[in-house]
Symmetry: C2
Subunit: 278 residues, 2 copies
């Protein structure tokens, strides 16, 4: 009996936590495991108490005919601290500096094992905002935007740099990049499902914030509202950004020699209980 329950607990825990944020139906579960509802309830309560007690996440119950349970994983602060330390060390490698003074980071941005945790961090920062989707502009912010959207259980809206025939008619805007003063453009297909939505704009990098502001304007033309802006790295200069409010995971103080200083923002330090290493 006990052996059977042991096995059931392992299987149930896996099935419950397999798809974070997605409801697992209780009737399906009972049928699948071939157990009575009362037994299932008892097991679920034990798993809920165990995982919540160990700080691994929260299990919500939804009652009624389509009743089920949903698992929301907790941030893994220990793992995130380690990832951030490693990410900062990789960013700060002088070999990444190009002769023109840029930092080559595309490989880091497109590494799921490095970016997924950072997306979960941004999602946690903005979870209370009741978001309908995450928007990003091509190309390098896409992996972080997708990771954030996944953790929030929403979709991603892609703002294009050019208008693409394959997307049908689009709305486009031109804007001045806040730092280089170059004319840039951004467009969004009229078919994009963002109307009236509450949007989180995510990008890899913010300097003056011109791109984030253009995204606000373009999404505004669709009746959508950008209620949050999250970026991976923001530069200290210029201190006045073109958007009122934003959350950067990392801050970057440039230097004439080498890469300069990269460190986590205050909200990240609090969230992962950061300690500076010597």
């Amino acid at each position: 009996m006990s052996e059977q329950r042991h096995r059931r607990l392992a299987v149930l825990t896996r099935v419950l936590t397999r798809m974070p944020g997605r409801q697992v139906n209780l009737n399906d579960l009972g049928r699948q495991l071939n157990v009575a509802k009362s037994t299932l309830s008892e097991d679920l309560l034990l798993i809920k108490e165990s995982l919540e007690g160990a700080g691994l996440g929260v299990i919500d119950s939804q009652v009624g005919a389509s009743g089920g349970v949903t698992f929301w994983p907790a941030l893994d602060a220990v793992g995130l601290r380690e990832q951030l330390h490693q990410f900062i060390a990789e960013l700060s490698n002088v070999d990444r500096l190009t002769p023109d003074g840029f930092l080559y980071v595309t490989d880091l941005l497109f590494s799921p094992s490095r970016i997924d945790g950072l997306g979960a961090l941004l999602a946690e920062r903005f979870r209370a905002l009741d978001l309908d989707c995450v928007a990003t502009v091509e190309t390098r912010g896409i992996p972080l935007a997708l990771a954030t959207a996944r953790a929030l259980r929403v979709d991603t809206v892609l703002l294009r740099r050019d208008h693409h025939l394959s997307e049908g008619s689009s709305l486009s805007i031109n804007y001045l990049s806040g730092s280089s003063r170059h004319v840039q453009s951004m467009s969004l297909a009229r078919r994009a499902p963002v109307r009236q939505g509450r949007v989180l704009f995510v990008d890899d990098f913010m300097q003056a914030g011109g791109t984030a502001r253009a995204a606000q304007d373009l999404l505004g033309d669709f009746g959508a509202k950008v209620v949050g802006v999250g970026v991976l790295v923001a530069t200290h200069e210029p201190a006045d950004k073109l958007v009122e409010d934003y959350s950067a995971i990392l801050e970057w103080v440039r230097s004439d020699e080498g890469v300069g200083q990269v460190f986590p923002s205050d909200w990240v330090r609090r969230m992962v209980k950061w300690e500076d290493k010597q």
Copy 2:
């Protein structure tokens, strides 16, 4: 005692399966749960037998000083069948046809809940090839490429459409798109970490295969070898593609009226035990 073990089994199962494909260290685990190694081994064996018996995945053990266990989740055939049916229904909606005869699908491609499972499917198809990375070309194949790379526990290499100053020096090639006979270009930063690697090329769409072949050529210039090509959708016409071998998740037979027919490829049917619905 038993109650304590019950709780430990729930916590252990969650910790073991939280990061698929990543090793969990046994010493860390023992310390974290405050149990003796023998107790831990007994619990791990039970969890292994339970999850493997239920077809939920495989737990591998690595012995030695840095010993640990790694969980590899099984494909969720039931969930994937449902996702594929839904995805095909969404693709086949005539409202997605633009006046120029394209299908608007960007919103579907950028939806983690729709794409992640399909990436896991591609990963399973190519897992035996001992891959070093996944490569894709911007922009719409990126989410599928990232999902595939995540399931394979490797990084993604981004081929750009233009050369970007911020990435330092790049290699570029021009090629003729196999279907439209337009000149296209593709470039890769010299700093991209792909040298000598075994690469899986992933894209959203294949018509004649010109893009996949150009990616093979460009990556070849870095000493890397494209050992597999995976796409979300391949068109039946032209039947002769410019790459020798590829795996499409879905096949699309175009029609003059409406969207035409979209259905899963044979290897997908086998993998998810597909049954056509009436």
